[in-house]
């Protein structure tokens, strides 16, 4: 199965699909995808997210996600969940309601927090209502 626009945000095996999907595949999705490594550096940033935030990927890649790209998630509700999952080596797959400040406008979104033990990248997926 490949990635395409109709893939639902809450599809179960999404972590594996993202892992194997290339940049073009991620860009085909109908929600935002941010992948980051264990140092918190953004390694993947799809075009849906880029459009919503108003930033091109080259401005964001290799930046620290929670300090320079999305400080709004740098609290126990998001950043801490990833830190705990990595530290404990446990899987994280949860959907929460959140408010992002896309172009400084408060925007209600659903965030899916994804991490599989042993994986290089963790993912935040962003769905706008």
């Amino acid at each position: 199965m490949t990635l395409h626009a109709e893939i639902p945000f809450d599809q179960t095996d999404l972590a594996t699909l993202l892992e194997h999907g290339d940049a073009a595949a991620l860009d085909a999705l109908g929600f935002g995808v941010i992948g980051f490594d264990q140092d918190g550096q953004v390694k993947r940033y799809n075009s849906f997210e880029s459009q919503a935030a108003g930033l091109r990927a080259e401005r964001v890649l290799d930046q620290d996600l929670f300090l320079a790209v999305a400080p709004c998630m740098n609290n126990f509700m998001v950043a801490q969940r990833f830190a705990d999952a990595r530290a404990d080596g446990t899987a994280l797959d949860d959907i929460i309601n959140y408010v992002l400040t896309l172009r400084m406008r408060p925007t209600k979104v659903r965030l899916r927090l994804l991490y599989q033990p042993g994986a290089t990248l963790a993912y935040v997926l962003v769905q706008r209502p």
């Binding site: 459009q51 930033l55 091109r56 401005r59 400080p71 959140y98 408010v99 400040t101 400084m104 209600k108």
Partner: protein, 451 residues
Amino acid sequence: MSIANDHPDAQEYEALLQFLYMAPVGLVQLAADGAIQMLNPLSAQLLMPLSRDGGLTNLFEALEPVAPDLRLLCANFAEPQGQVCDAIRLYLHADDKSGGPQVMSLSMLKLGADRLMAVLTDVTVQDRRERQLRKTDAWLNAIMTNITDYALVSLDRQGRVESWNESIERVTGYDSAAIKGQHYARFYPDGATTEAQQLDRLREADENGWTLDEGPRLRADGSQFWGSAMISPLPLRSDEAASAGACASTQPVVADDEAAYCMIIRDISDKRDISEDLRKASYSDHLTGLSNRRAFFEAADLELKRRKKAARPVALIAIDADHFKAINDRHGHPAGDAVLAHLAQTMRSVCRQVDVLARIGGEEFAVILPSVALDDALAIAERLRAEVASTPAMYEQQSIAYSISIGVAVMDDALDGFDGLIKRADEALYAAKRRGRNQVAVWQPPVTEQA
């Protein structure tokens, strides 16, 4: 709209966006009613954990649990523009177990009739540092401030006045017969201190070399003045020091009725007037004049530290006005405010001066009762409930009857922080609400299955 645009304006726009995304302070633009129009990510980082409905639509609502008087503060700001508040401290948790920031700083600027700007920063670390510094400041003030008059009192090991001199009479009006042999609590108004607290101060002086406190003091004729009192242990005479060392005891060997401490009481009523406004602004709730969350958490911290040194009861009662939203809806916000002010006044009339009375949320109040065990705390809570139930608040010649629900909890060794105690008092409060309101409930440990 496409952003893959190389036009210079598009790049400028993108750079500006990123600048705001990365700004290390929270910025929020809001309408006069608190509706959030724009905000940057750091604001969301700080505000989202406070949001009760998972959204961020109104700043006053988002901050209500920690700054209940913000809406009123902004509404009362009459100037067309200017600074509504400057770096006021918002206290999120009593201790650091919950993680994340515990203290935020908030500045509000009015830019026009329907536009406000808020600046939020996490000042948890700074706040901790300042608390340390303040202690040092109080000590320096005690020494450096210009002294008009002071009384020099020697106390025995139990805190009783050991001998009389003229300075005592000048400052407090007591003659020798009336004060000699009396406990130093005689200088405090009724209810301003507890026995455990007085012994604490002596112990603190033993450990630190000094202890300092400020507050209302009583003269022989019953009149009050604002006093600062410093107590320090008297140095042992060399022969006593030698014998103290010889018997390997850390307690100085002084007979019970010999001078063991020196206490200096200064009348600082003048100085107090100047600093009082400043103190009020940062430590009391704008509407009720009770302690705000900042003062409340600092007092709790102090009381728990004392409890660690010497075991004693500490009780907490959590109070919530019943159906408060209905009162606001029916009579309007100003009437609601009058009810809260009335409740605060009733709390003052029922509690002692040593108790810490605070407004900790919109219609939520709490009282820390030092050295009070469960039975007495329940009695006080019940008296408060009954008093409120029998005396309606008045607003514009209109009598508004209301009631309160109360939860009572006491500190025990199973709890290691104040947040835990608050949680228990809150649970008891919800139990009182569930049982039909206008009542007092005490915290019950969860039922556990035991063989």
